[in-house]
């Protein structure tokens, strides 16, 4: 992804000029341009861009894995991959898309936009923020290193016993998988603590909770889910680690263990996880739809509370992933009803979006198209999800392509369409240039057609009994007529190529925009929320003066006021609103200072895990790096002392950020 270096516009933020007086063990980094400024940055915007860029890279990796899977299944007796490689491919495809694309992409958007949306200049813990990013990146790379070191994980993304044991998976793939996910888990947990604290503590004056933009609200729910769900999978992964590396028998039936323990721990994490994946996208389109309908969001409190309700009820439905495992009738009945119940708050959201569209002056930009696409495709996936809550029917569908169809409609049609909506909506904010709308439209239609061609037929395949994770199918057993598996498999494979073309168009769009995209005006979409009340891209300190918030949709209410007839009429342009902020600009703003320690600390983690797999002494070296990083971190102030800055300032007129 092209990372556009941009000069800051009107006001330079002063960096510490005399790092020698830093208290750290190393002199503090001071570069404000070039690669060092990215490596050691603690700026939430730079980190947000790096999060998203890395996530996009993993999206391409995961996408190529998906294409290989579809090529293998395009014709009978597929020869593209052998059975072993096929197992690795679907395991890593899912793991990559869930943990290394959707989650970090949402984290990237959260990083970039939460502080802007709540009127803050940075997050609560800027260095922890940097650490989260580097830990995610190193964890993701560590996970993918397994491809080159004897094969990747091959037990499916939920890694059930006994397939996860050393007997069925003797390579180091699953060890890399476990430890890589532990590292990204640390990143998510640190990110959750950071972002929750940011949302609760760093809001601009007047920014009450019920005036926060929906995207921030949904991210708050997501971060709470991560806070409480990540430790559960941490436990599960530790137990599996001990089983694989130190001969414990936690999931070994022969030793008297309950393999269902893994399933419980995995899905207690795993079900909140699906809401972790979808809620950020719900947040994005709840921003996009009002802007392009020229109406406020219908029933803001309902959208907020239904989001919180989804987050809450999401903890009580995990066992619906285990209906076929013999839980017993009482458990099945309880979880079945809870699963039906969770459809209600989700339905509330769909109604709210539809009502927002109703009677609006709709403007179908690319962002809006993806948002409407989400409503339609997610609803289809949601409905097939409701069919899963009916346990007898689910027992029939378990481990068939019907399940694959369902979760691709909610995750691709839902989560990923929402993210793409966000890309088109926020691109001018982040890079100061407009993505090409015409290409965007092509991008959208190719993706809609491709995704329905790919995943639509999987409903049929699944109901006809094609099991998921089957690496070959044979003509002899493919059936006849309309339900011929061969036809629909080929059809889905063609669809996946259409889908790939759609994504490719987006990448082309990025390149074209970076080269000669239209420079974005100050307020390109006539937007409503605070992140648009600053320059494109925002200055390093976000706002020249911190706005005082008096409305939901503050930016809109500064531009528009009610006239005598109760009509909203424009009273100010975006430029005038900006001018007011600039006139009150704070004189000296000391932003949190760059630091070596986050990347040092994060770099120690994969060294430790590498050592755990291959040789303990290497692990000890990693431990020493982590300790060194932690020590340097703890004696270095987050913001350099005032006398490190040039020109020297008296404490009186300095505004400290963080």
């Amino acid at each position: 992804m092209a990372i556009i270096e941009r000069p800051s516009t009107t006001q330079e933020v002063v960096a510490p000029a005399t790092p020698s007086s830093s208290l750290g063990a190393l002199k503090r980094p001071v570069a404000t341009t070039g690669w060092k400024s990215w490596l050691f940055t603690v700026d939430h915007k730079k980190l947000g861009i790096m999060y998203s860029a890395a996530a996009l890279f993993f999206f391409i990796v995961g996408g190529l894995e998906a294409v290989l899977i579809r090529l293998q299944l395009a014709a009978p007796n597929g020869k593209v991959l052998n059975a072993d490689l096929y197992n690795q491919m679907f395991t890593m495809h899912a793991t990559t898309m869930v943990f290394l694309f959707v989650m970090p992409m949402a984290a990237g958007l959260a990083n970039y936009f939460i502080p802007l949306q709540i009127g803050a200049r940075d997050v609560a813990f800027p260095r922890i923020n940097a650490f989260s990013f580097w830990a995610f990146l190193f964890g993701g790379l560590f996970l993918n290193m397994s491809w080159f070191l004897g094969g990747a994980a091959d037990g499916g993304w939920f890694m059930y016993a006994p397939n996860s044991g050393p007997i069925y998976s003797p390579s180091h793939g699953i060890d890399f998988w476990i430890l890589g996910l532990q590292i990204t888990g640390i990143a998510s947990l640190a990110g959750a603590v950071n972002l929750i604290t940011t949302v609760l503590n760093m809001r601009a004056p007047g920014m009450k909770l019920m005036r926060m933009p929906i995207f921030t609200w949904m991210q708050l729910v997501v971060q709470f889910l991560l806070l409480f769900a990540v430790p559960v999978i941490t436990v599960a992964l530790f137990l599996l680690s001990f089983q694989r590396n130190f001969d414990a028998t936690f999931f070994d039936v022969a030793a008297g263990a309950d393999p269902l323990l893994w399933q419980h721990l995995f899905w207690i994490f795993g079900h909140p996880e699906v809401y972790i994946l979808i809620l950020p996208s719900f947040g994005v389109i709840s921003e996009v739809i009002p802007v392009f309908s020229r109406k406020p969001l219908f029933g803001y409190p309902f959208v907020v509370f239904s989001g919180a309700a989804i987050g809450f009820v999401g903890w009580g439905v995990w066992a619906h992933h285990m209906f076929a495992s013999g839980l017993g009738p009482v458990s099945v009945a309880v979880f079945s009803i809870a699963t039906m119940a969770i459809a209600v708050p989700t339905g509330v959201k769909v109604v709210n979006w539809t009502m927002t569209l109703w009677g609006g002056k709709l403007e179908f930009t690319a962002a809006m198209k993806f948002a409407v696409g989400l409503i339609v495709l997610f609803t289809i996936g949601g409905l097939s999800g409701v069919t899963h809550s009916v346990a007898p029917s689910d027992t029939q569908q378990t481990d068939t392509y019907y399940i694959v169809a369902h979760f691709h409609y909610v995750l691709f049609g839902g989560a990923i369409f929402g993210l793409f909506s966000g890309f088109y909506y926020w691109w001018p904010k982040v890079f100061g240039k407009m993505l090409n709308e015409k290409l965007g439209s092509w991008n959208f239609w190719m993706m809609v057609i491709g995704m329905n061609m790919t995943f639509g037929p999987m409903h049929i395949l699944g109901l006809q009994g094609q099991p998921r994770r089957m690496y070959q199918w044979t003509e002899a057993r493919a059936g006849e007529g309309f339900f011929n598996l061969g036809f629909w498999n080929a059809f889905a494979s063609v669809g996946s190529l259409v889908l790939t073309t759609g994504v490719l168009l987006f990448l082309i769009n990025i390149v074209i925009t970076a080269r000669n995209g239209k420079v974005a005006p100050l307020d390109p979409w006539n937007a409503r929320s605070l992140e648009w009340m600053t320059t494109n891209p925002p200055k390093e300190h976000n706002f020249d003066s911190i706005p005082t918030v008096s409305h939901l949709d503050e930016f809109f209410h500064r531009k528009y006021q009610e006239d005598a007839n109760g009509q909203m009429v424009q009273v100010k342009t975006a430029e005038q609103v900006m001018k007011e902020l600039e006139d009150n600009a704070d004189a000296h703003i000391h932003m949190p200072s760059p630091s070596y320690w986050p990347i040092v600390l994060a770099a120690g983690l994969p060294v430790i895990t590498f050592g755990l797999i291959y040789s303990i002494p290497i692990g000890i070296v990693g431990g020493i790096i982590v300790l060194f990083g932690a020590y340097g971190w703890s004696i270095e102030p987050g913001t350099a002392p005032d006398d490190d800055f040039d020109p020297p300032t008296t404490t009186k007129d300095v505004v400290h950020v963080g």
Binding site: I196, L200, F224, L227, F228, V232, D258, L260, L261, H264, L265, I268, W315, G316, A319, L327, G328, S331, P637
Partner: protein, 99 residues
């Protein structure tokens, strides 16, 4: 940077108060250990669980200042605790742990 002028201990407790709390905790612990030597009959389980909960709440409320601090701290901590208790009890019941 946070200054030292505003402290939670001001509306917290005196050192003597902390020692008293510690003595109460020690007494409960002694009582807990006594269940190992004396037969409490049907009271055994409930008594142990109650004593455990009391010790837990005392340490959290007084030593960790939760009683004197902002409700938000209690809220985030007990949210995690209660969620953990409910979720894991449900999971254990599916294994017929309690029957």
């Amino acid at each position: 940077m946070t200054t030292d002028t505003h402290t939670t201990t001001e509306h917290g407790m005196s050192n003597a108060g902390y020692v008293r709390i510690a003595l109460i905790l020690a007494a409960i612990t002694a009582l807990e250990v006594s269940t190992y030597y004396v037969d409490f009959g049907p009271l055994f389980m409930p008594a142990l669980m109650i004593m455990m909960a009391i010790k837990f709440v005392i340490v959290v409320s007084y030593f960790m200042h939760l009683k004197f601090d902002n409700k938000l701290f209690s809220w985030v901590f007990y949210a995690g605790l209660i969620l953990a208790i409910i979720v894991y009890i449900v999971a254990l019941s599916t294994f017929h742990f309690f029957s």
